[in-house]
Symmetry: C2
Subunit: 520 residues, 2 copies
């Protein structure tokens, strides 16, 4: 049995585009003499379609495309995820198997994830029973299921396995990326293959969708738990494989490279799927904006990246020079728009109201917001997507200015801790003068991040404990950080989207109240 796994990059809502891509990959699979081709979960709607699923017209249109696929694809078995509507009930998250116009099997996702970034119980009813997910083809017993279905130890897959005793189990997925998650998938699938004594075909989505990256990494595992074939992460691929042969290949990446590839895919898809070509960002000469500039160049090409230096009287010669030199090294358009005069003008206009008031964070924020205004003006005038460059450590404790440096359409490093920003910067070759300079917002004289914050190595470990693992703070420092985390929730609520990299990121997986009296 020759299996083709179509690890495709769909776009949420783009029914026509996704339909075309499915036809194209079915055709490629036929040309590669595959008996069967597998597409990801909800391949027609894209994933996650979120509240588009409440739009009956959208579901209706999607069904028309499914019917067309069933009619138009000939001479190959197709395994396809789609939204199956029901009369006056929630739809099913379904997997259909068809061949020459005939449906061979249908499965409804039994286990609907409703944790982390997932809200599937908002949209779907759970499938009941398991009797229709299996079929025979060319003497093989095959069964299909969907994503979460295979993750539960005593779930539907176990029942399907007893009932159908399949030679091949096919799982179609949309499993979002976080760092090293591919190894969790590998471990699970190998365990299932051995437990069920069946070959497993795992098809995952690739592509960026808002805050999520789907990393692909589709694989075929034999009954003995050996990975016979696999697709690379982060690229579209048609994996064609005859079960029982061995294409064994290492298709995974060292951790830092894996993260960098996830960032590139997330950025590329957010920019291009939203119809943008060029990006603009404020280039301070600090490490965060340097990394984002490098990432943007590696992702979009130097001709599509515009870097703006916006120095004030607090900007040092060193950072200004680094901003300029590194931009030149990257080959991007680089412009300097000083904000000193604008800043003085604000102080002037506000002087009557600020009489006898000491300088404080207000004056710092005014500068950051002037920069935000300039970046947005360039975005408006030239149609660039503005990138913001705040890392997870800063944004966790509110060390950032709302409507200032937080301005932007997308923040590629939103879910990177500062320590990860350092690792990635070294990995991609950000200049040492930038990497080695003590971090500073440069919004007042001689300001250093470590005047207000503990060293980032310390801070990041505390944040992992409090934010990612939900553990209780212990001691003065941890309690102080917990309070900063709580009090800055209102800022994060207004932050732009960014790419999920850690197991728990801000956004859909961090639904904290703003009004919050716990440990006040």
């Amino acid at each position: 049995m020759r299996i083709a796994v179509a690890q495709i990059n769909t776009k949420v809502g783009d029914l026509q585009g996704n339909f075309n891509k499915i036809l194209e990959y079915a055709d490629k699979a036929k040309k590669a003499k595959a008996d069967l081709v597998v597409f990801p979960e909800l391949a027609l709607s894209g994933y996650p379609p979120e509240d588009l699923l409440f739009n009956k017209e959208f579901i209706f249109q999607q069904c028309k495309y499914v019917s067309r696929l069933i009619r138009e694809i000939k001479d190959i078995v197709v395994v396809l995820g789609y939204v199956q509507p029901r009369h006056e009930r929630k739809p099913y998250n379904a997997c259909t198997v068809f061949h020459n116009g005939e449906e061979l099997a249908i499965h409804h996702k039994n286990h609907l994830p409703n944790y982390s970034v997932f809200d599937e119980k908002r949209y779907f009813d759970k499938g009941e029973g398991s009797g229709k997910g299996g079929f025979k083809y060319k003497g093989q017993s095959i069964v299909v299921n969907i994503c979460e279905d295979i993750w539960l130890d005593h779930g539907i897959c176990k029942i399907q396995n007893s009932y159908f005793e399949p030679d091949i189990m096919i799982n179609i997925s949309c499993s979002p990326y976080y760092a090293s998650k591919i190894y969790e998938r590998e471990d699970l699938l190998i365990k299932r293959a051995r437990e069920y004594k069946t070959n497993i075909v795992y098809c995952n989505l690739i592509g960026g969708q808002d805050e999520l990256v789907f990393d692909g990494g589709s694989m075929i595992i034999n009954k003995n738990g050996r990975i016979e074939a696999r697709s690379y992460q982060f690229v579209e691929d048609l994996l064609v494989h005859k079960i029982g042969t061995n294409h064994d290949a290492i298709c995974t990446y060292e951790k830092t490279e894996e993260i960098y590839r996830a960032l590139k895919l997330g950025l590329k898809d957010y920019v291009s799927k939203n119809g943008f070509q060029k990006v603009v960002l404020g280039m301070s000469g600090g490490i965060d904006s340097a990394l984002v500039a490098k990432l943007a160049v590696d992702t979009l090409g130097k001709e599509n990246v515009v870097c703006i230096s916006m120095p004030s009287m607090y900007s040092s010669n060193e950072t200004q020079s680094d901003a300029k030199l590194y931009s030149k090294e990257l080959g991007v358009e680089f412009n300097t728009i000083p904000i000193e005069n604008l800043f003085l003008k604000y102080l002037d206009e506000l002087a009557p109201w600020f009489l006898n008031k000491e300088e404080d964070v207000t004056e710092e924020n005014i500068q950051a917001r002037i920069r935000g205004n300039i970046i947005m003006a360039l975005s408006n005038k030239f149609g660039y997507m503005p990138l913001s460059t705040g890392n997870k450590s800063e944004v966790s404790v509110g060390y950032c200015t709302l409507y200032g440096d937080m301005s932007g359409g997308f923040n590629p490093i939103k879910d990177l801790y500062k320590t990860q920003v350092y690792e990635l910067s070294k990995f991609v070759g950000v200049p040492e003068s930038i990497i080695n300079r003590p971090p500073s917002a440069e919004l007042r004289e001689d300001q250093k991040d470590e005047d207000s914050l503990p060293p980032y190595e310390v801070l990041d470990e505390i944040l992992k404990k409090l934010m990612e693992r939900n553990e209780a703070p212990k001691g003065e420092l941890e309690n102080k950080i917990a309070k900063m985390l709580r009090l800055s929730e209102y800022k994060r609520r207004q932050s732009c989207p960014g790419i999920k990299i850690t197991k728990r990121s801000y956004g859909k997986d961090y639904r904290m109240p703003i009004v919050n009296g716990y440990h006040e």
Copy 2:
């Protein structure tokens, strides 16, 4: 049987404060010679606690307070909602009944809402069975259940009713407000009372929590479906009532007044529960900011409201004069900070880059963002909470500037259509010169909203159809509006919280993808 219904205003996370309030109201109920006192769903944690529920220490602390209540409250039966943790499983949303240190009954919420603004399946396991929710007291059979449990026609309540044949059914709720929802609750409870031939005691939360307002309106309905007693909406109350007597009172409001009271409660609680006293807003002389200023004065007192006029060369004498006169009429602090010089300075600094480019929306947005910067500077310097004033109609079609007029900690009218802004403005007596002037953003010469948008009466009906009811657009205008709605999602994602007034508001009840190729 004398029943006390404690319609209290809790604060999410504030265990100590909520504990104190429960003690206080139990004491009041005893003084009023009640046999039994009822508190809302999740009274100790506040509602909705969201991801605080993943914090084991929080749940553990909450349980300690529950134990203290059970020990400390004597000589009255207490019905109380709380989070009941379980070993290595999700907790239950529970209702305990206790009396002099002894638990008389326990019920676990069976029907967990996971639609609209609700995510309860993210946090809780559903209760199974119904056998422990009933008890006898003073010869009466009483049964308890929780919120959604009573809304289903063939749910747990029906089973409880058959099993216990209760004289009194108590439902503890946290039912969030939208306009006229109280009548849906009334209809339902009357129907249930008649269907089950039982007296129903309905206890609802009051108070604002982020985007939600809980409006109270607790009530006691007899077996014949007559409302014997009720609490006013939007206020804390201890309703004490002997079942079988008649306190009948109309405690509901005409629709516009009801909405205004909801806005006041939502604004008051957001400001005070976040520890603020004063608010600041940009006062343009237009109807939106006039309504928000009036609302703020009615809610917080004129001494706590600061209005700022920030005219540019495009601001008309009429709007400037209205802003000043109405601020004076309201008795608030009113200051004028012109932005013309700042605006010219931005144009100056950007001139080299904007050479040969036509004026467009860029120049409009620069002005709006200067105003945002000034309002935020005043907020930072004086500790005012900044209010933003964009209505639902504008925000739906993107007729607003991100980081400009969208800046703010809270937007009280975020979920009011422009037509509702007019109704409320008339209701509260905003001056006719403000109400009757054709709406304009005044960001360029002779600009009128209706140059870019259809009349608001038309727009609002289309938005209700597309956004609230998820219906498909028909015809050119509706398709144009649908596109504007889709393309402005990225702005709304970064908007500040505001008060839910309609059945479907932006925020938790509108989870639309930004990357969205549907009908592109």
